[in-house]
């Protein structure tokens, strides 16, 4: 079992009793090594819930979900926190810490493992920022960067700790067409060059070209898995 994501028979519901509302029904999905998979579908189809379950941000209810070789069904909070450290997250909004510089923000992804010395953390963060084309902007706070630049910092933060998987939720939603396309391609290229698989939720038809495979969801089910 070497697939970074392997899901079968996954069910998930919000609410209790009468108000119980299933959002994921018998979902099965595999993401293979080095693959870029886009997850699309209308609002409320359960994409984001699925992404949070894979990202170990939410506890499982039913089914099996193995991420990076670890079964999440029945995993403790502690195990989930540990797993999250080997996943790179990219959010719709950059979610950078406003009181830290770009470099410090990226270094935060390394600081979680205190075994890495401070100097090495900052060096790796600087190198990663240069790789996303932000050389010279390392010491600026997020407020002094453009939207596209902030999302690049977020990409650097997601990738700096050499994660085994990148999960992204509409990373281009807040960007205009040009910078959205740039960011999406940058993310794809960076991940490909490292062999890191990406699972990205998106509504954005402009970036479908980065995908190896597009998976569509509707009403909590996976309805179509096509190679783009």
């Amino acid at each position: 079992m070497t697939d970074p994501i392997s899901i079968s028979g996954l069910n998930y519901a919000y609410g209790e009793g009468e108000l119980r509302r299933p959002v994921l029904r018998d979902v099965g999905l595999r993401v293979h090594a080095g693959e870029v998979v886009l997850l699309t579908g209308p609002s409320g189809s359960g994409k984001t819930t699925l992404l949070t379950l894979i990202g170990a941000l939410r506890g499982m209810q039913e089914g099996s979900c193995r991420v990076l070789g670890r079964e999440l069904m029945g995993a403790s909070e502690r195990e989930r926190v540990r797993l999250r450290r080997s996943i790179g997250f990219i959010f719709q909004n950059h979610n950078l810490l406003g009181f830290l510089t770009a470099r410090q923000n990226v270094a935060m992804a390394l600081e979680v493992d205190a075994a890495v010395p401070e100097r090495e953390r900052l060096e790796r963060a600087g190198a990663m920022l240069a790789a996303v084309g932000l050389a010279g902007h390392e010491d600026k706070p997020p407020a002094k960067l453009s939207g596209g630049q902030r999302q690049r910092v977020a990409i650097a933060r997601a990738l700096v700790a050499a994660p085994g998987l990148v999960l992204a939720d509409e990373p281009t939603a807040a960007l205009d067409k040009v910078s959205g396309g740039e960011v999406a391609h940058l993310l794809r290229d960076m991940a490909k060059s490292r062999g890191t698989p990406i699972l990205m939720v998106t509504h954005d038809p402009r970036i479908l070209d980065i995908a190896d495979r597009v998976v569509s969801m509707e009403d909590g089910r996976i309805v179509e898995a096509a190679v783009a």
């Binding site: 070497t2 090594a33 540990r82 719709q92 979610n95 810490l97 062999g195 495979r213 190679v227």
Partner: protein
């Protein structure tokens, strides 16, 4: 499902994720690497960077902690000044042992005891001197404007050396004169500027009670909550001024032992030979007895403790508010940190570190301000207010505890930072 050709070593392979057989190798490295220092320092640094980013909020938090520190410092300062000043008269006495009526609750309201107990005490070979001390309050007419005010009179054998007040030795011969008294220059100013008058005129007459007496010299004792001013005089002059007292009664007996005598043994032997109508107390016990009165029999000790607690609660609410709104405003950022693998414990340490940083940066200016305020207040009230290391340490511990409590309360808000809501 389409399968892509697999590279030779996958990034999520167990060897790379720290799973399976790689895990035992990774564990010792992890245990060796991050020490306690990183465990505390990294969250603290993050907390400081976050606090520093918003100056206005930081200053208001600092002002809040400072306010609490000043309030507690003042309350504790007054409290200790009260106890110090209330016992100052007794502290100034130089004898090793004291006899006192068991019914005496405080020195400004003494119960009389038989004077003969002093003579009985002399039966012990180790007792060198047994000096009766007379205490009474009377009224003093201000020599400048004629107003009257209660004053504490202390009568004793001035030459026995059982009492030590600053300036007493110099005026000892003058106090032998009929109706001569020594005036405490640290008495409150409402008694008149006796020090200046004395310097100008030399010995002069004032009215104490219904009698004209001579101010023959000056001593330095200091007012207390029980008495605003003090007069010292010889035993004989005391009897002249307080006519209604029986000569066979006294208020306190100060006992000086032979040099090198064992105080505890002498106390035990005195206890054996004296009837139960007197207490035999060491100097510390006498001071503690007086202190006990002020602490328990009056609301004053309680009032200051209560004031301190109020200050701490107000400070805690301020710090809690600051920390709480800090977390609420940065909820997304905390949730992001949780999403990228920071544990609840780490974020809790960030909040605690923020609380403790506020404690330190609020306490330091608060303590500095209080050193100055103590001076100002001591000048206005004539109370012995001064900053001590013990009190600074105590207040810091209280402020630290206050901030930690506020941090613990604010930490509950961290639960609202749910990484699942980030997408």
């Amino acid at each position: 499902m389409n399968v892509i050709a697999k590279p030779t070593l996958l990034p999520w392979a167990p060897e790379n994720t720290g799973e399976s057989n790689a895990a035992p190798a990774a564990t010792p490295a992890r245990a060796r690497g991050p020490g306690l220092f990183e465990h505390i320092f990294l969250p603290a640094r993050l907390a400081w960077r976050q606090l520093r980013a918003e100056r206005a909020r930081l200053f208001s938090a600092m002002a809040g902690v400072m306010f609490a520190a000043v309030l507690v410092f003042m309350q504790l300062g007054f409290r200790s000044a009260l106890f110090d000043s209330a016992t100052r008269l007794l502290t100034a006495m130089e004898a090793e042992l004291f006899l006192m009526n068991p019914l005496t609750v405080a020195s400004f309201r003494p119960e009389p005891m038989p004077r003969v107990r002093a003579h009985q005490a002399l039966a012990l070979p180790e007792v060198a001197q047994a000096v009766p001390v007379y205490l009474a309050q009377s009224t003093w007419r201000n020599p400048e404007d004629g107003s009257r005010r209660a004053i504490q009179m202390i009568g004793f054998d001035v030459e026995a050396g059982a009492m030590h007040f600053e300036g007493l030795d110099a005026i000892m011969p003058a106090l032998r004169r009929v109706d001569a008294v020594g005036f405490d220059t640290r008495s409150r100013p409402e008694f008149g500027d006796v020090g200046r008058l004395f310097a100008e005129r030399g010995p002069f007459e004032v009215q104490v009670g219904n009698r004209m007496v001579e101010v023959a010299g000056l001593v330095s004792i200091g007012p207390s909550f029980g008495a605003d001013g003090n007069l010292v005089m010889s035993e004989v002059n005391f009897r002249r001024m307080v006519r209604e007292r029986q000569a066979s009664n006294t208020d306190l007996v100060a006992i000086r032992l032979q040099p090198g005598a064992d105080i505890a043994a002498a106390q035990a032997r005195l206890r054996e030979i004296l009837p139960p109508d007197v207490l035999v107390l060491t100097h510390e016990q006498l001071v503690a007895h007086e202190r006990h009165y002020w602490e328990t029999a009056t609301p004053i000790g309680f009032i200051f403790a209560f004031g301190s607690i109020m200050g701490l609660i107000v400070g805690m609410v301020i710090v809690y508010q600051i920390l709480f709104s800090d977390i609420a405003n940065h909820l997304r950022e905390y949730a992001t940190l949780k999403a990228i693998g920071y544990s609840n414990g780490y974020l809790a340490r960030v909040v605690m570190a923020a609380a403790l940083i506020l404690a330190v940066i609020g306490f330091l200016p608060g303590a500095a301000l209080c050193v100055w305020l103590y001076d100002v207040v001591a000048g206005a009230t004539f109370l012995p207010l001064a900053m001590t290391f013990e009190r600074a340490g105590l207040v810091f511990a209280l402020i630290f505890g206050m901030c930690a409590a506020a941090g613990l309360l604010a930490m509950r808000k961290l639960r609202d930072a749910s990484p699942a809501d980030m997408f």
